[in-house]
Symmetry: C2
Subunit: 318 residues, 2 copies
């Protein structure tokens, strides 16, 4: 798998943004440690999802590319697949719920994808997608449970370790587990002494429960502001990888997440979506014990937050 | 003067943040050019002012350092002087108006500076400052009209040219002209073919008028959202430097500035204060003619924006 990640690094070389690594002297002083943020909020489409989508789609056969691709998502994966489809000249269909935010609908259409809307009350997205797939022979691009997608997401951690050597811990948010499992494998390949910790909202702690019990736990419709982690469970591919390569799972409260988004915004001057702020939330809330002089890497997964949510968070900061 | 800038680069080496240079593929596509943003919103205290303050204060004599320093400012300069005073163990006094934002007052006190409040209705800050200076022998740290301050600010452009070669234009905001004049001198020293353009709000276009007429023009209390450019005029030092090294001055409307702050925030995921967004405002509003394949550097001066102003701007974007 580590070899696949190295290939992904090469494959993404001239397509993905080499996102910067930022630090905050204020935060480092507060925590008595060095914290390095890998800023995937500056990635294409505003989130790490571009890496996995590109790595996966660019490896399709010529025939598959000619037939077209399909994905179902109301979030960053939709935009990532749509953009990669456009970049590679592949016909792309995205199945989105009728309650998807207008801004994301517009962005997906803006990348030239055909959008199929389904009624969340009466239809099941897998059924809709299956029917379209069958009819046109499109290839489904899974959001996380796919080795090529995982290898793509892993390149975020790979780049961070290349830039900052000697990290003692790496924190990554966990939704479906594509980012976390990939980053864990990259970390153990490059710096085996670095502890990898997955962070989840306490309100959506299915992966933490699965990790601790060894059984795949599902939480339907988890109620968290961190929309990127609202997946109901880990996948068949990501769960065993997380069991093998991740050292611990930690949870944070909704208040911790809001505080972290505010700190990113007002102190670090960067826009981070709630799911992307899970790492900082764990550090600020002391969910993770930090030894002095530790060097901790944190993956900021994305920055796609609705202006109205951003306004709410700013109002809460006053 | 270019030699002084090179000394400043060395002097700031282990103290200032080497701020990242960011690009936006969306913007580059929109403009048909490559735009490189030097992000001084990620500088210590959230603005370029740290550079000038550090370069100036660290060169004081031992005696001057022991007596202490003083500055008057309600903005980023106050925080910069306060932080440098703290870093170098120098007693620091900041004279601030009684209508200064609480958040900036708290930040300045947080850096350990003594804050003297004056009544903007009945007192003149220069008089208050003069009296305290006389009594205690403090050295006044000027916000822009000082060669050491200018050489410090210049290092922002110096770093940008070192990172991105072959820039065809450099855009910098202009308030008192410390940043603009310094960046112009650094640019002409490193890349003489690069055109340097200063950007001002149309509502505070004193420097543009001065530049075009050759006479120092003052605008008392200019009405602009870009608070960093509300200085009434260029200084005795900065005006002739700007006449010599700057190629053109351009203005932007308040609407242009708001649009640029929104673009930085929602598309580029970075928090930029209105003064810091002047360069992008000039590009988005087509105030500057761009040839295709140009490489344009833009100095983002800072990211210190009140949450309430940020909320206003977000509400206007919806």
């Amino acid at each position: 798998m580590f070899e696949q990640i190295k290939s992904a690094v090469t494959r993404l070389e001239s397509y993905a943004n080499k996102t910067p690594v930022l630090s905050s002297s204020t935060l480092n002083k507060m925590l008595g440690a060095e914290i390095y943020f890998k800023c995937e909020n500056f990635q294409k489409i505003g989130a790490f999802k571009f890496r996995g989508a590109f790595n996966c789609i660019s490896q399709l056969t010529e025939q598959e590319k000619q037939r077209g691709i399909i994905a179902f998502s109301s979030g960053n994966h939709a935009q990532a697949v749509a953009l990669v489809g456009k970049m590679l000249g592949i016909k792309t269909t995205i199945v989105m719920p009728n309650n998807a935010p207008k801004i994301k609908l517009a962005a997906t259409k803006g990348y030239g994808a055909e959008v199929v809307i389904y009624d969340v009350q009466t239809e099941i997205r897998e059924d809709i997608t299956g029917k379209i797939q069958e009819k046109y022979g499109y290839t489904l691009i899974a959001p996380f449970d796919n080795y090529h997608v995982i290898a793509g997401q892993a390149t975020a951690a790979y780049e961070l370790h290349q830039k900052v050597s000697g990290l003692t811990k790496l924190l990554a948010p966990c939704g479906g587990g594509g980012l976390l499992s990939g980053c864990a494998i990259a970390t153990k390949g490059l710096n085996p002494d670095c502890e990898v910790i997955g962070i989840e909202p306490a309100n959506a702690d299915d992966a933490t429960q699965s990790f601790n019990t060894g059984k795949l736990v599902s939480i339907p419709n988890p109620n968290t502001i961190a929309d990127g982690t609202r997946t109901t469970s880990l996948g068949k591919v990501t769960f065993p990888l997380i069991q093998e390569y991740v050292d611990a799972m930690k949870t944070v409260s909704e208040e911790d997440i809001i505080q972290a988004v505010q700190f990113h915004l007002l102190r670090m001057k960067i826009v981070v979506e709630p799911s992307g702020a899970l790492g900082l939330a764990a550090l600020l809330s002391k969910s993770i014990a930090i030894n002095s002089k530790e060097k901790i890497g944190v993956i900021i997964s994305g920055g796609n937050i609705d202006p109205s949510t951003l306004i709410q968070m700013l109002e809460m900061s006053q």
